[in-house]
């Protein structure tokens, strides 16, 4: 089985490529990229006017399986991913049971093999039951091909414990992803602390609760000389902390999410629970700082923090509604809408932050179209506008922050392991 993608704008930062080319795929691998390849018996996809990129890699998704299959399953999440041009996702471990043992990881791997429609990689919990009291068997889990460790959803309060986790991870070379939140400062809050929390009559979540923890976690990683990845950065102060750490040579990488690049606290004014997330949408200035940080590379990548919730958990009083929004299907369009065209961001940057970058951080042989690599490809129209509507959402839960909004950039084809896995 072979496919030729004809005359698309091929963008691949991993080989410094940005040109109109043909791409030949055979037996699940990228074979050749050239000015013109004669189709022969291959299936030909006309990509004229479209962009051809390595399939996107989302290193922060909550798939909810096992435990909350009413919200999302490995199957529905990966179908949603493909619809968004995402070919690889890293599954967060805050499931029920949580992924804190070799047994749980093994069972999850089996489920993935059975029902995943895209590549799913596994992140393990850093502490048992994500309680922050005792470390999981990090080395043992690594042998179960767990790629990264995180208690995402909460931060590890115990500094000594986190420090020993970094020690182990330095030795094994595996990545720790930190959810940075000091709950002593954020407790009870539902929106950004400031004018918005005051005018809405809600308890606020201060920026300190995030950036002080970013600072602490980076310091601990630095002392252990280990790598650290900061999850879902939402404010300018955190960006400053990360910038300074990078300047000092600390091995830190960071992500923000598309919604922090596109929305801000003003969008929460109508008490729409689909705009309720943790960390919360911050000020307009924070949003602008995040955009700059992505452009100048202080923030390395974007990830979805895809967090599906049922209507029962969202269609209630704002203060009681669950935190989190879905994002797999809108990752690329929102990133394009927020960054491409308005700024100096080019498509190479988009490919870097959505695909090549996260693959590199995770040490995956993904995020590239180089000859011999897995043929995971997204083909999209960067200019086409579309409206996000509930009935069009593939994900099992519909809690998108972008319902009713027009986005620029539409995925047309997603190719997974050399076969068309999604077509608009």
């Amino acid at each position: 089985m072979s496919i030729i993608i004809k005359q698309g704008l091929v963008v691949d930062p991993s080989q410094g490529l940005r040109a109109i080319k043909d791409v030949l795929i055979e037996n699940g691998k990228i074979v050749r990229i050239a000015d013109c390849i004669i189709p022969g018996t291959s299936q030909a996809i006309n990509a004229k006017g479209l962009v051809v990129m390595p399939g996107l890699v989302d290193m922060h998704a909550h798939l909810r399986e096992p435990g909350r299959e009413d919200k999302e399953t490995i199957e529905t999440a990966t179908m949603a991913a493909l619809a968004g041009g995402i070919t690889s996702v890293l599954a967060m471990p805050n499931t029920t049971p949580c992924i804190d043992s070799a047994q749980a990881a093994g069972l999850l791997q089996k489920r993935i093999q059975k029902s995943a429609k895209a590549n799913v990689f596994v992140a393990g919990a850093l502490t048992k039951n994500r309680k922050g009291h005792a470390l999981t068997d990090i080395e043992g889990l690594c042998n179960k091909s767990v790629l990264a460790f995180t208690d995402d959803g909460s931060s590890v309060d115990d500094e000594k414990l986190l420090s020993s986790a970094f020690d182990i991870c330095r030795k094994t070379g595996v990545l720790i992803v930190c959810h940075c939140e000091d709950t002593a400062l954020s407790a009870g809050g539902t929106v950004n602390r400031g004018f918005i929390s005051t005018s809405m009559g809600l308890r606020g979540i201060s920026k300190e609760s995030e950036y002080k923890r970013v600072e602490r976690d980076i310091n601990i990683a630095e002392s252990a000389q280990a790598r650290i990845h900061i999850a879902h950065v939402s404010c300018a102060e955190s960006v400053d902390v990360i910038r300074q750490a990078k300047a000092k040579g600390v091995k830190v990488t960071a992500e923000t999410c598309p919604h922090y690049l596109m929305l801000c606290e003003d969008d929460v004014r109508g008490f729409d629970t689909n705009k309720k997330m943790n960390p919360p949408l911050r000020s307009c200035d924070d949003r602008n700082s995040l955009k700059r940080a992505v452009i100048d590379g202080v923030i390395d990548i974007v990830s979805t923090d895809h967090a599906p919730h049922t209507e029962n958990e969202k269609d209630i009083e704002f203060e009681r509604a669950a935190f989190g929004v879905i994002g797999l299907e809108t990752m690329l369009p929102v990133t394009l809408t927020a960054l491409y065209g308005n700024d100096s961001t080019d498509l190479t940057k988009i490919a870097q932050i959505c695909s090549t970058g996260p693959a590199r951080i995770l040490g995956l042989k993904k995020g590239t179209l180089s000859a011999g690599s897995d043929a995971d490809v997204v083909i999209f129209d960067p200019e086409r506008e579309w409206m996000v509507e509930k009935r069009g959402i593939v994900s099992k839960s519909k809690n998108s922050a972008f319902l009713g909004m027009r986005l620029k950039g539409k995925v047309i084809f997603t190719i997974l392991n050399g076969a068309v896995a999604y077509q608009a």
């Binding site: 602390r193 005051t198 005018s199 809600l202 008490f271 704002f318």
Partner: protein, 310 residues
Amino acid sequence: MSRWGQKDLLGLEYLTGEQIEHILLTADSFKEVSTRGVKKVPALRGKTVVNLFYEPSTRTRISFEIAAKRLSADVINIETETSSIRKGETLIDTGLNIQALKADIIVVRHNASGAAAMLARRVDISVINAGDGWHEHPTQALLDIFTIRQRLGRIQGLNISIVGDIAHSRVARSNIWGLTKLGARVTVCAPKMLIPPGIEKMGVRITDKIDNAIQEADAINVLRMQFERDKTTAFPKQLEYFKNFAVTEERLKRAKKDIIVMHPGPINRGIEISSEVADGCRSVILEQVTNGIAVRMAVLFLAWQGRRGL
């Protein structure tokens, strides 16, 4: 003339100065009804108003009930103890049921900010916010503003101080939106820990000195202190609060001659206000209660009109 023209009253933040004026003018015309021998007009005859109270408030509930009855509406009261919320029914389900019973207006009091807005999005009938969390209490602010204007003849250019727990007060927020939209200069006065972040962006001045708040004021609105409310933050002690923030005769000696003193009730005598002041000649506290009826009649009537697109 600019109308209010909306089915719901969710807060004064979402109204223009003109819309607020329109409500106040309508309240003016309803005020006289309460002085008649037969205190009733047929404006909402055959309509049903449901008071849906998830938080106890006898005062506000009775005021709405009387207002609805003076407009000849039928009134149903649903309070937490008797409602199905105890059985786990959601606010939206309760609202949809009330709508299915062909009620016309829901007056909702809830301890979650935004509850009224959420309900209004999901039902086609009118929703009046009778207080939601720390967010807004628009009819209280409207009756406060109505009372100030009745006493002082205008709002534009007046100095109005709001004293007390600003951080947790929906009355403060609604007053600030309403008064600033009508051109008043508003000062909020409280211990620093009770001033919420970013409130200056609502267009107010901030002080933690009660004498500063009194000095220039044409009206002072004293909020009820609820010491039992928040045990997590360092709240001032009651005596200490009285010493530093209570509105007393002694302090009012340095105020403008015709200053008026307001309070949304129920008052804590000897905590945020002295009895002398509460009962004194500057106090308009009972006028506020009376005006509450006219203002709520106006709001109920206009919401009904708004729903019909009039």
